[in-house]
């Protein structure tokens, strides 16, 4: 599970370097995210621009991470590729998450989505 973390101002930016977030890696992803976000600031941005494929297991893992961070912390998403966006759209989870066009927009307060 290749995940990179960067602190940007008061935001923890987590970049997933996995082409597929699927049933095979859903549990390791959840475990790694739990470790990474243990002392995270309230805002965590998950950069998914490198993820080409997401299935319901991967989506469930992302929802699980979001629930772990709440209520003090918030998980936001950035850089959804078409296949990933489709899963969020079909399950209507795009109504629950704050989704940014890309990680840069997410960490710049002026570009912050509502």
């Amino acid at each position: 599970m290749q995940i990179e973390t960067t602190m940007r101002k008061d935001v923890l930016l987590v970049t997933v370097h996995e082409e597929r977030l699927d049933a095979q890696v859903a549990i390791p992803f959840k475990d790694k995210m739990r470790d990474i976000t243990r002392d995270a600031p309230p805002r965590v941005v998950l950069d998914l621009s490198g993820v080409r494929f997401l299935d319901s297991s991967g989506l469930g893992a992302i929802i699980s991470v979001m629930k772990q961070l709440a209520p003090e912390g918030q998980l936001e998403l950035a850089g959804l590729t078409p296949a990933v966006e489709k899963v969020f759209h079909l399950t209507r989870m795009d109504t629950i998450f704050t989704i940014h066009a890309d990680a840069r927009a997410a960490v710049e307060p002026s570009a912050r989505a509502g």
């Binding site: 599970m1 597929r20 049933a23 095979q24 319901s56 989506l59 469930g60 979001m66 489709k86 629950i96």
Partner: protein, 189 residues
């Protein structure tokens, strides 16, 4: 680090006899297309399958199968959105076999047959696992995340079947003697 599919059955003891027993179809290796009545079971003339796969139902093998499936449909030049739908629908169907059909037992075989007909991919997935006790749940509305009201009540599982219903057409489930057979149609655009 990817989960080791073997670890889940590491201490499960010897494989059940039912799984170890040779599959009569693979053992007999019938020549030519086995589906004499058309891959969608409608009695339509048989077409040569675009792809036939037979593998062990593990998440690692599912990944490999999906790569084969996307590779097989690429020459048909599917619309980009349709190609995504095929990969996602097949992933969810095959994940269900791994997680539910062979739940609590060693991974068994799964067969995938894809046939293309008039810009529609006809998919057939068979396994030798446990049946769906009440058949295929009917297509219901996707869970409404906004109805969850609180983040802690959002669903983390159970999203696969709604996705299959949303993506696939004419989804059918048949319990045959000792095996499950799921068929569906996925337009290629």
């Amino acid at each position: 680090m990817p989960a080791d599919p073997a670890s889940r059955r590491g201490d499960a003891g010897p494989r059940p006899a039912a799984t170890a027993a040779a599959d009569p179809r693979t053992a007999a290796a019938p020549p030519g297309p086995a589906a004499g009545q058309g891959a969608d079971g409608t009695g339509a003339p048989a077409r040569r399958p675009l792809l036939e796969l037979d593998f062990e139902a593990t998440s690692a093998e599912v990944r490999a199968a999906l790569a084969r499936i996307t590779g097989a449909i690429a020459p048909l030049d599917p619309a980009p959105d349709r190609a995504i739908a095929v990969e996602l629908a097949m992933a969810e169907v095959l994940n269900n076999v791994v997680e539910h059909a062979y739940a609590g037992q060693a991974p068994g075989p799964v067969q995938v047959t894809l046939t293309a007909e008039d810009r529609v991919l006809i998919c057939r997935v068979e396994d030798e696992g446990i049946d769906l006790p009440d058949g295929l749940p009917p297509p219901g509305p996707l869970p409404d995340p906004e109805a969850a009201r609180a983040i802690e009540t959002l669903p983390e599982g159970g999203l696969g079947l709604p996705l299959i219903h949303a993506l696939a057409e004419r989804l059918t489930y048949l319990r045959l003697p000792g095996r499950n057979c799921l068929t569906c149609r996925l337009p290629l655009g």
